[in-house]
């Protein structure tokens, strides 16, 4: 195969449910691999909050809509001679097929690398999939389309197994359902045929309760095929794998069954003649005696990202090299640097992945789990055994989320068993905790849980063991509880002491975790991977380091309001630190991301982002390097900032930032005082204890005002009052007093990112929000540079932001939200961290904002960084950011924009011309919204 000159890589666009940071990870690995081979890359993506869209990664980067029309323009202008379609998720794959269908690839002589599009079509098309899989003698779920009860019963009787009946052309599957006996089947068939407007039903073997297994496989052009990882879904068939708890390696199946499934996956990838990565999903009967092929994804995926992080084997990088024509056996082993890439990782630990759902933001949403994925992100825990891995994954979900011991009082399990166990244990986001609570209160046992949920008893028995172990925490040596996997916080709760007391006891007793290497080979060969997880086990000496290390705290699972932009920031920060000649250490727990690629840093600790794990890593790094590490909190979103207080309490200095500064910005009164001292206008606000107080506040402030309960939870109850009528209708509702009433300044809302070295500041760009104040800035369209503000208005706003940064004593980065109205600049809030806007500013201005921030945080001056003071001159390009939602996937959620953020991702339109930039952004959004 001749080597391509320039390869077009299509990204996956904005983050939506089902398509998250994993494709940034895949794209970054692929682009770096291709460019490492001397091949040019041409990258197209509409999502600016990605590492891949930086030119030092993507090569020639086009930020623009992911549409056939735009891609054709790009191809015509930049003339790539090859296309790598399998790294941009379903979006990238669909576009590649569409470009082929439209004749674009042929017209411009662009050949497809890696996986042939015929294979893609075969895997994606229902009929093609059936022909492909059955053609190689592998089983798919048996099914028949019938138009009479008699025909249906012939199929059911021949199958002699439970079936599911799906009437054709009915909404929401009305009239269908499961049938476990022939009698039920006869009834369901009759009902289903009656319900279908065309009198047709699909009868299919029911795989309900079968176990779900996935294999991630790679194949090269010389037909070498390897299985990188087999993974087991804890939730049986019926729950989308993105919403399932996933465990690797496979724990419950005997070797002959594992081998049979592995062979099936390899057979499929060979039949597809696929050159690259592929995901094969299989259903296995609980006794292991039978299986079916459920789905084949001929591309890298969320699961392949998980498999890469679970094993240390970089699937996307190797898949990209395979697409260039490299053979697995010729590539070096990516972990050991010698040997070859043709091997299957052996792991000597267990990983558990937990989904992160957005239901905390949307209490009205339907929380049931099924075939439609609802999670926005995920966290992974690595432990020597299942229990510590699961407990770490739980601690990683979010420090303030549901811990191991959480129970909903509404379940009432402390005094009675649930009336209907089956209903209580239907798949929902809280099923894990429901099972734990049932076990804890003794209402049921592991085998009953397994029976009711269909979860393999191996897992329910482990959960029961873990619940039983809770009782031994008090009174037993602390080390035992730590070895069992319990976090300091859980031990504290169980023992009735504050978490800090547990840490103190640990320090006194010298109980600290050791760090183990993820080496792909279970210790068989010396490996170089700087990839570690903690375990209460014998220390494994990591490589000596004589450099001072800088720890970058990541942002954990992707959730609404804290997305991939923080991964972008974390990765750029790590790279900047490495360039400074220091060791860049990353702590994070999101397996989808670039920041958890051990190639992106000097040492990666795959750990929860809570006080316990972060302090443990800090202690370990101190011991390793002989010096206190710098800790950078500013790039990990609120997750990282929330650690500040505990780190300060533990005397850990935070680079460029103090806990005091964070407190000032978070405390309304203190922040107002600061603004007053700086003679900067802040929003006027009052507290209203009752309707009289509310009316008084409004007459003082003048309409419109924003009112919110002073105990705001998740943005609920926030209202904008524009008229006396609005006030009256609000008063007729059920109000939780007191209310906070803020003046609503009518003007232009702006987002200002300030880089400060402690003495001077620079604002690289200002974003003007295009939606009215009251719409969450994350959900608002925005433009950089501002289109309706004069230079002097912008300078005044920048000056206010800059002075806040200096007065807070910040070195690094500060985000300020303000409203500009005529000569007035009203500062709404300040956050002493990188915000959602950083990647946009970076892409629009072409400046490495994060590197400047991290260098200042570590002591450099703006002069040393090479940045001039004050508001930077306008960039040449106009950048328009538009939000993209995917909440239409969540039934029961109101998608009207408001003060609560609802979008999951964003796109950017770039042009020298504002109108064109707006059009590009709008087109880019349209490419990802469902047609209505």
């Amino acid at each position: 195969m001749t080597r391509p000159r320039k390869v077009l890589v299509i990204g996956s666009g904005p983050i939506t449910i089902g398509q998250a940071a994993e494709f940034d990870y895949a794209g970054v690995q692929a682009c770096l691999a291709l460019r490492g081979e001397g091949v040019q890359t041409l990258l197209v993506n509409s999502n600016p909050a990605t590492v891949m869209t930086d030119p030092d990664v993507g090569g020639q980067v086009i930020i623009g809509p992911l549409t056939v029309g735009h891609l054709e323009e790009v191809i015509a202008e930049h003339l790539p001679d090859a296309l790598l379609p399998t790294l941009g998720g379903q979006t990238g794959l669909n576009l590649a097929v569409a470009l082929d269908d439209a004749g674009v690839l042929e017209r411009y002589g662009v050949r497809v690398l890696g996986t042939p599009l015929a294979a893609v079509r075969a895997a994606e098309d229902r009929g093609g999939f059936r022909d492909l899989v059955t053609g190689i003698g592998e089983p798919i779920p048996e099914n028949a389309v019938v138009e009479s009860v008699a025909d249906g019963m012939r199929f059911v009787e021949a199958l002699a197994a439970p079936v599911v009946i799906r009437p054709a052309f009915t909404l929401g599957g009305g009239g269908g359902g499961f049938a476990h006996t022939p009698e039920q089947a006869r009834e369901r068939l009759a009902a289903g045929l009656a319900a279908s407007p065309i009198g047709q039903v699909l009868v299919e073997r029911s795989l309900l309760g079968w176990y779900e297994i996935e294999f991630e496989v790679l194949r090269d052009a010389s037909d070498t095929a390897i299985a990188i990882c087999g993974m087991e879904n804890l939730d049986p068939m019926g729950v989308h794998t993105g919403d399932s708890i996933v465990v690797a390696p496979i724990q419950t199946l005997p070797d002959p069954v594992v081998q049979r499934l592995r062979r099936c996956a390899l057979k499929i990838v060979r039949a597809l003649r696929l050159e690259g990565g592929c995901n094969v999903q299989l259903a296995v009967r609980p006794d292991g005696g039978d299986y079916r092929v459920i789905e084949v994804n001929p591309r890298v995926s969320r699961s392949s990202a998980l498999a890469s992080k679970a094993t240390g084997y970089p699937i996307a990088r190797v898949a990209a090299l395979i697409a260039l024509g490299k053979r697995l056996h010729e590539l070096p082993n990516p972990a050991t640097g010698s040997g070859s890439a043709a091997f299957e990782p052996a792991v000597d630990y267990v990983v558990v992945k937990l989904p992160r759902w957005p239901f905390d933001k949307f209490p009205t949403a339907d929380r049931s789990l099924g075939i439609q994925m609802k999670a926005t992100g995920e966290a992974m825990g690595i432990g020597r055994e299942f229990a510590p891995a699961l407990l770490k994954a739980l601690r990683s979900l979010e420090p303030r989320g549901h811990g191991w011991l959480w129970e909903d009082e509404g379940w009432g399990l402390s005094h009675r068993a649930p009336d209907d166990l089956e209903a209580f244990l239907m798949p929902t986001d809280t099923r894990l905790w429901r099972m734990l609570a049932l076990l804890r209160h003794g209402w049921t046992d592991a085998s009953a849980l397994g029976r009711v949920t269909g979860i393999a008893p191996w897992f329910t028995e482990r959960l029961a063991e873990m619940v039983a172990a809770e009782e031994r925490v008090v009174g037993a040596p602390l080390l035992e509880a730590k070895e069992a996997g319990f976090g300091d916080a859980e031990i504290a709760t169980l023992s009735g002491v504050p978490p800090v007391a547990v840490r103190r006891a640990r320090v006194r007793a010298g109980i600290a975790p050791a760090y183990r290497r993820v080496d792909t080979c279970a210790g068989e060969f010396p490996a170089e991977t700087p990839y570690f997880y903690s375990a209460y086990a014998t220390p494994e000496v990591p490589p000596p380091s004589d450099r001072r290390s800088v720890i970058v705290i990541g942002s954990g699972p992707i959730r609404i309001g804290q997305g991939i932009e923080f991964d972008y920031c974390s990765v750029r920060a790590a790279w900047a630190i490495r360039e400074m000649g220091l060791d860049a250490v990353v702590i994070n727990n999101n397996p989808e991301t670039v920041s958890t690629d051990y190639d992106a840093c000097s040492r990666l600790y795959f750990e929860p982002l809570d006080t316990e794990s972060v302090l443990d890593v800090i202690d370990h790094e101190r011991a390793l390097t002989g010096a206190a590490p710098h800790v950078v909190l500013t790039f990990g979103g609120q997750t990282a900032i929330d650690l500040a207080k505990d780190l300060a309490y533990a005397d850990v200095p935070i680079a460029g930032l103090t806990a005091e500064a964070i407190e000032v910005t978070e405390d309304r009164e203190r922040f107002a005082a600061l603004l007053t001292r700086l003679e900067i206008e802040g929003p006027r606000g009052r507290l209203a204890a009752d309707p009289v107080g509310l009316r008084a506040a409004i007459s003082e402030l003048g309409l419109p005002v924003i009112v919110r309960p002073s105990w705001v939870i998740g943005g609920r109850g926030i209202a904008v009052l524009g008229s006396p009528d609005d006030l009256e209708s609000l008063l007729r509702t059920d109000i939780g007093w007191p209310l906070r009433v803020d003046e609503m300044v009518e003007g232009i809302e702006v987002d200002i990112d300030v880089i400060s070295d402690g003495a001077d500041w620079c604002v690289p760009g200002i974003l003007e929000q295009l939606d009215p104040p009251g719409v969450h800035s994350g959900d608002s369209m925005a433009v950089l540079p501002p289109q309706t503000l004069s230079r002097s208005q912008q300078e005044r706003a920048a000056d206010a932001a800059g002075r806040i940064a200096i007065s807070l004593g910040l070195r690094g980065i500060l985000n300020v939200q303000a409203i500009v109205a005529g000569d007035r600049v009203v500062v709404i809030e300040a956050n002493p961290r990188a915000s959602r806007t950083v990647p946009i500013v970076a892409k629009a201005t072409g400046r490495d904002v994060v590197a400047a921030a991290v260098r200042c945080a570590l002591g450099a001056s703006l002069d040393e960084v090479g940045w001039s003071r004050g508001l930077a001159a306008d960039a040449l390009l106009v950048a328009v950011k538009a939000p993209v939602g995917s909440l239409w996937r969540l039934p029961g959620v109101d998608v009207t924009p408001g003060p609560e953020m609802r979008s999951t991702g964003e796109v950017l339109g770039l042009s020298e011309d504002y109108a064109i930039a707006v059009r590009r952004a709008t087109e880019a959004v349209a490419a990802h919204e469902p047609r209505r």
Partner: protein, 392 residues
């Protein structure tokens, strides 16, 4: 108890067999390392050579594979025994490994089959649980000497560590693995016939140095009627059955001490080159053929045990992931070429010789296990080719 003469217990000793019972135990290495854990399975002493396998499943297969005779097997995967073992998964009628070293021995869910612990108890061998198998594996990889003993903590010892020196000394006194005739303890003593599955396509003789059921099943499944002969069968004994294929089986131990078998392998190879039946050597059988050809074998710094190594067939550039289980490998050297052999397969990880082919095409051998069990059977065309040759 003398290790030299100890036969593997076929009946459980009269001691505790309770699945949940454990008592403190020690694992001592001759180099001085002493690790504390709990004894599970049969609470009896054990000793042997430490090796580690990276296979995450297949405990029944591992324990009953005769090639593990004399070895104390470390499982690198920390959770062992998670599923019940189906008798159909077993590789022989007996447990051959001396002991297991595990991080955690899991009690599997109820159901048919035996738990790993029940299997250990019935076979009268112990597992020592609670050992950090990764750090032990790293120690072995970094050159720790491998003889080891497992003992219960004696009732009388009050001070932790009181027995350590004695145990380390006991480990140093364990008969070296290389010095023991393991084959004689595991291989069949009488000839027998394994019928083909389905129609007979050819007759084969397999010389049994410690064969696995999976290997026999793979051959029988391809239509071979297999006469299994004891390890001390002569070339004439083999020829007497007029086979169309001769298979030299896998087995335990160091091949360089097996002079009679090497001689037989050499004679069979000579016959193969002069009109006799073709030969397929597997694992130990492969090593014997190499030694007969004048090559040398060496003990690997770290043996291959697991199901994840890739082997490349040099002539076809075909790469297969396979099951490996060998402590010893053939040294590449001029003797092989002089005898007409070329290296047909290489391990892609460390370059170990994994297969030999004679220029005549009449003698071929592989170091790895195309029959898997546990592990992949991606390279099972080795059998197809051999059977094709036998029926040609």
């Amino acid at each position: 108890m003398s290790v030299h003469t100890r036969t593997i217990a076929t009946t459980p000793p009269a001691i505790e067999r309770s699945a949940s019972f454990s008592r403190p135990g020690l694992l001592a290495l001759e180099g001085g390392l002493v690790l504390r854990g709990s004894l599970r399975g049969a609470h009896v002493p054990a000793e042997g050579d430490l090796i580690f396998t990276t296979a995450a499943t297949g405990w029944g297969e591992i324990l009953t594979d005769p090639s593990y005779a004399g070895q104390v097997v470390i499982l690198t995967h920390p959770m062992a025994g998670s599923y019940r073992i189906d008798p159909a998964e077993l590789e022989s009628a007996r447990v051959h490994a001396r002991a297991l070293v595990v991080t955690r021995l899991v009690t599997p869910p109820a159901g048919p089959g035996r738990s790993l612990e029940e299997m250990l108890s019935e076979a009268g061998i112990p597992a020592i649980e609670g050992i950090d198998t990764r750090s032990l594996t790293l120690a072995l990889r970094n050159g720790a000497a491998r003889r080891a003993v497992i003992r219960a903590v004696s009732e009388g010892s009050r001070r932790a560590g009181a027995d350590d020196a004695a145990l380390v000394a006991a480990a140093g006194a364990v008969a070296p693995w290389e010095s023991v005739d393991h084959v004689a303890t595991v291989a069949t003593r009488r000839a027998h016939v394994v019928p083909p599955a389905g129609e007979r396509r050819a007759r084969a003789v397999l010389v049994d140095y410690g064969v696995k059921r999976s290997l026999l099943a793979a051959l029988a499944g391809r239509g071979l009627e297999i006469t299994v002969l004891p390890h001390d069968a002569s070339a004439a004994d083999v020829a007497a059955h007029a086979p169309e294929l001769v298979v030299l089986s896998p087995g335990p131990g160091d091949p360089s001490r097996m002079a009679p078998q090497i001689a037989v392998a050499g004679e069979l190879a000579q016959r193969a080159l002069s009109g006799g039946p073709p030969i397929l050597g597997i694992c130990l059988g492969h090593q014997l053929l190499a030694l007969a050809a004048g090559a040398e074998t060496r003990r690997l710094a770290v043996g291959h045990h697991g199901g994840n190594h890739a082997v490349i067939e040099t002539a076809t550039v075909r790469v297969d992931i396979g099951a490996h289980n060998h402590e010893v490998a053939v040294r590449e050297g001029p003797a092989l070429a002089a005898a007409g052999y070329r290296v047909s397969h290489l391990d892609l990880n460390d370059g170990t010789v994994e297969g030999l082919a004679h220029a005549s095409g009449r003698v071929g051998s592989v170091q790895f296990h195309p029959e898997g069990a546990p592990g992949p059977i991606d390279a099972s065309r080795v059998f197809d080719l051999a059977v094709a040759q036998a029926t040609a």
